[in-house]
Symmetry: C2
DNA sequence: GACCGGGGTTGACGTGGATCAAACGCAGGG
DNA sequence: CCCTGCGTTTGATCCACGTCAACCCCGGTC
């Protein structure tokens, strides 16, 4: 490879991947960093990966090296046990991190799969650790992100352990809505990137139950559904349903 | 307070709380630290707290300042929603950390309650962050601990989302057994520190269902139960049951 | 030793969601 | 244009677990 070509390619990538001009920086790792610190982070986040719908970002069992920030697109993560049963553990959208599960054993413990054409920034974990030794804000923010993931998981445990089908779906939809909103999209109208089956797996329900709950919400005027297109008509109604004491 | 008395008390506490001579150090934060680094950690872990059965270590909503290492005893953590439903999110025993959920919002997001008389080491979080900027192994190990918590939560999601009652209980008992074993206790015979109701809350089941599952295991010769005393008679049988394809 | 209370067990019955099955609708391909 | 296939919807039936209720067991108290 000629030096010129290499330089050009490099320059191109650096511009493209710079956290400092990424419009997700307020949602992603760089929160609260000053321009100087941001520049250091830019150096760290050097590689990008494009994935097509259905591609695996990583698989359970593969060695862990990097965590990934979703730059665009949509992912799911799932875990599997020997007998073939699997559980979707989360859906990730722009600005969210993937791969934190791999730190503990240096091997990924779940699969991460693109639900639509997507792009991620790879962040070599050892570099992240060494940079976060220098940049306090980065260190602290990274800890917050991991902690937030734990809190989120507790919420899912609550949902799976104590809520009934319609409450689960309502909670799920409100959560999606709020995350779309945080990214500047309409909180009321969006396209689901996942199938009924994937929603069911996440919520601990069968796809038929998910479908029926959607139909019921529609009958009750809470939302309009057509395949994967969802429009929320009554947010308060959903929220009320979610916290509704059983009978 | 006289200087002598203060010194004496201090010396006493330092000895008592020193990670360097704690027999849990291979299970807890100090893993892999050299003697020099251990000494720094000793300085950090300055305060201990004793709790009686039923005491709250912290409550949801309280400001987060420290994480806690269980030195002896047994805890549960739970989250609650407005309508009063609650979900036990975990049980913690010696060497395990409590409070990681509080990092994300600087407020605890769950309750931590002692299930028996217990003792914890408080680790001021800001100090931990600054020490882990100096001691790479500590930093790395702390990240592993947080990640392990995430992986554990995914396991619970799997359990709640896809397993049936007896599979859940089997998984729960095997997990406890393995953790007792790691601490030098018998993996086959132990006392449950939690009630049927608390087990049920953790496993997403009602207490009657838990009780029935225990009885069934006993009938099948998998274990001997008497109130909270459990003896596992057939580990392989439990393990097989756990992964048993439904139908 | 009688009483009491809280956790645990067991039984009878009800029900929410799983399962099984059929049909629909939309996208892609010939 | 029709055919094909997959994801979704809807209906009928089933069953695992929840609910309700009685009873038991054990430890603590007077």
């Amino acid at each position: 490879m000629s030096t010129d070509a290499a330089t050009a390619r490099l320059a191109f990538e650096v511009v493209k991947t710079a956290c400092s001009n990424c419009n997700l920086r307020e949602l992603c790792l760089p929160i609260g960093l000053d321009p100087d610190e941001l520049k250091k982070l830019d150096e760290l986040v050097s590689t990008r990966r494009r994935l097509k719908r259905g591609d695996f970002l990583y698989r359970a069992g593969q060695p862990f090296e990097s965590i990934y920030a979703v730059r665009s697109g949509f992912f799911k993560t799932d875990v599997m046990i020997e007998d073939g049963r699997d559980q979707v553990t989360g859906f990730q959208m722009a600005g969210e991190l993937l791969g934190l599960d791999g730190i503990s054993s240096e091997v990924h413990s779940c699969n991460a799969i693109a639900l639509e054409d997507s792009e991620v920034c790879a962040i070599p974990f050892s570099h992240l650790e060494s940079l976060s030794r220098q940049v306090h804000m980065l260190q602290h923010h990274f800890h917050k992100v991991m902690s937030r993931e734990i809190v989120r998981d507790h919420g899912v445990m609550m949902l799976l352990g104590t809520m009934r089908a319609e409450e689960r779906l309502a909670a799920f939809l409100l959560n999606l809505s709020q995350r779309f909103k945080a990214r500047g999209y309409s909180p009321a109208e969006f396209n689901l990137r996942m199938s009924r089956d994937e929603i069911g797996s996440y919520l601990g329900l069968k796809l038929e139950t998910v479908s029926r709950a959607f139909s019921r919400f529609q009958e009750e005027g809470l939302l309009a559904v057509n395949q994967r297109k969802v429009r929320i008509l009554n947010t308060a109604g959903l929220r009320k349903l979610m916290t509704h004491q059983r009978s």
